[in-house]
């Protein structure tokens, strides 16, 4: 039987930035298993970005502050590893892809990280081919960053990170600069990476409806504390979600409303298609 391995673990973890008394994260206890696709939500300033930066070591190595408790990533204490050592375990894609592409061409940018970790030419070659293919950006290989669209830039940013073969991929509001269609394509691409390569994925996203069908875990953070944490299907049902600035997808809100009105469904449907099927079945059943 396959056993689940914990890849990220927070133990009684608290953090505040230096120069500020306010705790940004309060007593966090959290464990994430390998292969999980986690949706992390919460209002602005709730500590999402801070939490993510604790996983790849930017906290405490780049940002100092009061650091209590432990963060363990892939069996090792984050505070004992440097950020660039962790870079081969944790890939971090930031909100603005523009600031993550350093080089004059897509290829050179992907190679940048691989050169940093000192890989030889053959290994760089094979990873380059692999990552270009995996993200479907072979045609962009020699393009300079200013010739790319936002969606393409975001793919290139992921490519640069993915080429390092991390076990965990963190995305901080990756679709905020993308139009709805490109955003959906992008999320499906991430799901593909999760499914194909068993990557553990953590996404911060305000457009929850994009992720209800792809994520399996959902964590709601507010004022530095974990409010809800569990299977996405269970967490998203919660009626109090909107109190935490979570934009509940209409199909979920409708089911909650109908439940209050006394209309009980056996299951909870995450997308319009499944829900309308169920309604149709019932209506025909009534007929």
């Amino acid at each position: 039987m396959e056993t689940l391995t914990e890849i990220i673990k927070f133990i009684n973890f608290s953090f505040s930035y230096s120069g500020s008394n306010a705790l940004i994260l309060k007593n966090i206890n959290l464990s994430i298993e390998e292969g999980d696709f986690v949706l992390l939500v919460g209002p602005s300033g709730c500590g999402k970005s801070t939490l993510l930066r604790c996983i790849n070591g930017l906290i405490p190595h780049l940002y100092s502050g009061v650091y209590e408790g432990e963060v363990i990533v892939d069996g090792e204490l984050v505070k004992n590893k440097s950020v660039n050592e962790l870079a081969t375990k944790v890939g971090f894609v930031f909100q603005n892809p523009e600031n993550q592409i350093f080089m004059f061409s897509v290829e050179k940018d992907i190679v940048f990280g691989l050169e940093n970790i000192g890989l030889d030419r053959n290994e760089i070659d094979s990873r380059l081919e692999w990552v270009l293919h995996a993200l479907g950006i072979e045609h962009l290989r020699y393009k300079p960053p200013y010739e790319l669209s936002d969606g393409q830039k975001q793919r290139v940013a992921i490519a640069g990170v993915l080429a390092m073969k991390p076990k965990i991929l963190i995305l901080d509001e990756p679709t905020s600069l993308l139009d709805p269609r490109t955003a959906l394509e992008f999320i499906l691409l991430i799901k593909e990476l999760n499914r194909k390569f068993g990557l553990t994925i953590i996404v911060v996203e305000h457009r929850i409806d994009l992720l209800t069908n792809v994520a399996n875990r959902m964590i709601v953070l507010d004022k530095g504390e974990i409010i809800f944490n569990g299977c996405l299907k269970e967490v998203i049902k919660n009626k109090n979600l909107n109190l935490y600035g979570v934009n509940v997808p209409p199909v979920i809100a409708l089911q909650n409303y109908l439940k209050d009105e006394g209309l009980i469904f056996n299951e909870f449907y995450l997308n319009v298609k499944d829900f309308s099927k169920e309604i149709k079945r019932r209506l025909i059943g009534i007929d």
């Binding site: 930066r53 790849n56 930017l58 190595h61 780049l62 950020v83 660039n84 050592e85 870079a87 081969t88 944790v90 890939g91 971090f92 930031f94 603005n96 523009e98 600031n99 993550q100 592409i101 350093f102 080089m103 004059f104 061409s105 050179k108 190679v111 940048f112 990280g113 691989l114 050169e115 940093n116 970790i117 000192g118 890989l119 030889d120 030419r121 760089i124 960053p145 200013y146 640069g160 990170v161 390092m164």
Partner: protein, 244 residues
């Protein structure tokens, strides 16, 4: 200001010169530069400038090279006038002015025919510290990005009633303060994000950073290099041995 840049900024083009190894282009540019520095007769400058313009024609960048020279004419006239005024004779003043033109146009050969990418490779092949190369690459890479930021800030300040083009010269300079401050702040924020992204991409991971890209001389590079050396030696011999 834009047309000063016009003469120094690389555009993707194809020519015999463009296709050379960037190190060869640097050596050609540098040898013309040094010869201009040490030449002291009008005859020498006529040869040097003809060579520079010939290279301009071969690399199809002559027009942009001339643009740069036209721009620098103000300085040339100033240099010429100052030399005359402080009491040097006409010939000497002309020579100094020609030297200035030769220096500018010879260095523009390299910059007009080599992409920033190639510059990066040249610096790598010179084994410069990677921190320095990286700083250069990102600086060039972010020029268009920051320019775009500036345009956006100007637009937004204009839409709030800022009249940039109004007033005398001092007023105009002061008008740029509401543009510069947000631009600097934005660039600082950007650089912070850049630092985070660099760290997350293992920048500085190991002392033994590998280099995927290396430059290789081709046959034509060797040929051009030899030709360049021969011409330089010939030039020096002709001038100094035979006092042409």
């Amino acid at each position: 200001m834009f047309w000063l840049a016009e003469g120094l900024v690389y555009r993707r083009q194809e020519s015999i010169i463009h296709s050379l190894d960037p190190r060869v282009k640097l050596i050609i540019s540098l040898s013309l530069f040094l010869l201009s520095l040490f030449s002291s007769t009008i005859f020498e400058f006529i040869i040097l400038l003809s060579a520079i313009f010939l290279l301009g024609v071969l690399s199809k960048v002559l027009r942009r090279m001339i643009k740069t020279i036209t721009f620098s004419l103000t300085f040339v006239i100033m240099i010429f006038a100052i030399n005359l005024l402080v009491g040097y004779d006409l010939i000497f003043s002309i020579i100094i002015s020609l030297r200035f033109i030769a220096i500018i146009s010879s260095s523009s050969i390299f910059f007009l025919t080599s992409s920033p990418d190639e510059l990066d490779l040249v610096m790598r092949s010179l084994h410069l510290p990677y921190d320095l190369i990286f700083a250069f690459v990102t600086a060039v890479r972010f020029v268009p990005v920051i320019l775009l930021d500036a345009v956006q800030i100007i637009d937004s300040q204009r839409s709030r009633g800022l009249e940039i083009e109004k007033g005398n010269i001092f007023k105009r300079i002061r008008n740029y303060i509401p543009v510069l401050i947000p631009l600097i702040v934005q660039s600082i924020i950007r650089s912070e994000e850049l630092a985070e992204a660099m760290e997350s991409r293992a920048y500085g991971f190991s002392k033994k950073r590998t280099s995927y890209y290396t430059l290789h001389f081709k046959r034509k590079d060797y040929f051009v290099l030899c030709l360049n050396l021969t011409l330089v030696v010939l030039f020096i011999l002709l001038i100094h041995l035979f006092h042409l």
